[in-house]
Amino acid sequence: MTDVTDTGSAGSAVSDYMQEMLPEFVAESRELLDNVEDHLLNLAETSDSDLIRESIDTCFRNFHTIKGNAALMGIAAISNLAHAAETVLSDTRQASGGIAMNHRRWLMAVVDLLRASLVHLTAAEPLDTAAFESLMQAPDSATHSLDNLPIGFMDATSIDHADQLPLGEILIAMGKLNREDVAEALRHQRELRPKVQTEQRRSAENQNRNDDNHFIRPNTSLSPVRYKDIRVDVDKIDRLVNLAGELVTVADMLMHRGNDQINDQLNRLVGDLRGVAMSMRMVPIAVVFRKMKRLVADISQGLGKPVGLQIRGEETEVDRELAEQIGDPLLHILRNAIDHGIETPAERQAAGKPRNGQIVLEAEHAGDEVRIIVQDDGRGLDRERILIKAQEKGLITGTEKLTDEAVWRLILHPGFSLADSVTALSGRGIGMDVVRKNLEKVSGRLEIRSVKDRGTTITLRIPLTLAVIDTLLVGVGDDLFVIPLSAVIECAELKPNPGDRPYTGQIIEIRDEMIPQIRLRERYRIGGTPPADEQVVIVRTDTGRLGLVVDRALDKHQTVIKSLGRLYRRHREFSGVTLMGDGRLALIVNLQQLEHSPDRRGVPSDL
């Protein structure tokens, strides 16, 4: 067994440098310990040798990880104890068969102590040194008792009733023990604990009842530490958000029936509930931005290009999942900005710019999406160079007339690199295509604007992934559709278009402005005859405005988004479906898809 006396650094001694890593260490250790506990419980319940082996391997690996991580944190006590656990498990693995019951119980005690220690660490309290020392002695002290028999050899259910005589008789019959051993073991067992029931062990409360066994229990639940926050399974939060969303629908149904006073109250409560539920998934983007600050400083120093980073809107709240996913893409964009965008101080001076480059990193909410903007004041993208490289790569033939926006988008192609030579510093980077792919994971899009010698702005636009959005309900024939209200500019009556065939009109004129139009009736092949007084909903899209021609615009509607499920995932024209108060379904129009599809100019109806 490892040196037990070295619990020296166990106190509150986690260095300042490591202190910022502590939450992550604690979170991961908790997960690993939960997993160990599950497997230890499994071990008590199975006699399948494959499962036993698998559980032992998993426990070993988890303790191994905890050992390594604790060593990284410089917490010797935890590292040593995890090492001891690892040794016990490794011996068990070699021995084949199963894990001795006293070993399993000791491992449970280790799990409990480590969990309690994580609480202490979080609260910056000293660890329970005595408990550590006592556990470090323990695993082999309880020898020659019934407990020592490997579980894998026995019927697990018998173990649960180990205080009943027949088991002893069986063991004698099996030749595993003689009568004296059994008598001794039973006496020992009675001293240890009145009952061994695995079910009981599942309850945390029960763990304190075991105080009379010879392993000193850490006082887990007696600890006065108060949590300011609790860990909740994200699935549960998602369910809560979902339920709150459905409640919105039901409240909507009631709107048309109950009395006004109750309706007002109900609506307010349901709205608040929904808000709270959704906010539970949100974190300020500051957690991501702060990391970027440090990284930008490091990169600019490494490249010898002094850069000032200005951060705006770091209080903007984003979905937790997004905060986790956005770090890498942002880092790549910032790296590119410094590496390729910002000039050297000498070049900047020659161009009459301040010596230090300037990068603005900004987050803001805009409608139902969050925008993250990276703006540099560097040399800007080189249109000619991109076109040449794109031709070399065969992405374009060279004869197309491309807008700036289309040219900039070329750099998003896989393997596109502007670097002339591969050096240690540049040109080996993960390309912008990876940034784009990462963004797609969170259904985000990327926009590039660039002006020569003035700089480049990259905007990431990511939906807030809200489960409930405000929408405009429209009807075409008997079908209902909803359009995200944040995109709607206005509704107007469609003026008849004399002289033109009514169904092929491509452009409509609204307030002297020509806007491309899409007839939902034709687009979705609904059929039927449109009414004389068709209406047009003007929406804002990436590239401008778009008119959606519908039979009638109905009402504002709070929409609970349900995904269409895997069967329909290729139907990207709709981003989901929603249930109406009266039980009818309405499809949610995906405006980006509508706009980008090739037949956006409207096709003649073939129905």
């Binding site: 250790s29 690996r61 390594g68 060593a71 990284l72 490091d298 990169i299 490494g302 490249l303 080996r428």
Partner: protein
């Protein structure tokens, strides 16, 4: 320099990454949380250096090293391990690891590792 770091522990991986970034801010660092993911990323990104943990569920570090050596692509391979047994080390070395990095990882160790890599590449 492009570095692929494979480690199933989020915590330990993030620290290793942190130190790489502190020492070589310009390095491109790719992270994988498991063996299979690591092998996929290796094929796609062709890193100059691979740092892999050995003890991992499903596809273990030694399997990763074996697979990567089988591709024949040049790469400086570092095995991350808490196991200092000579026998184990020799086995991993025979598989084609260039260097061992003994756990716990520290900034100094990452520095030494980068030095070793640069010497190796310089040759």
């Amino acid at each position: 320099m492009k570095v692929l770091i494979i480690d199933d522990s989020r915590f330990s991986r993030s620290l290793t990454v942190k130190w790489f970034r502190a020492i070589r801010p310009e390095a491109v660092i790719i992270e994988a949380e498991g063996g299979q993911n690591g092998i996929d990323l290796f094929d796609r990104e062709v890193p100059d250096m691979l740092v892999t943990d050995l003890v991992m569920p499903e596809i273990t570090g030694d399997q990763v090293i074996r697979r990567i050596r089988a591709t024949g692509k040049p790469c400086f391979v570092v095995a991350l391990t808490a196991n200092v047994q000579k026998k184990v080390q020799q086995e991993i070395r025979d598989l084609g690891a260039d260097l061992f990095l003994e756990k716990p990882v520290s900034e100094e160790k990452v520095q030494r590792l980068i030095d070793a890599y640069e010497q190796n590449v310089g040759q």
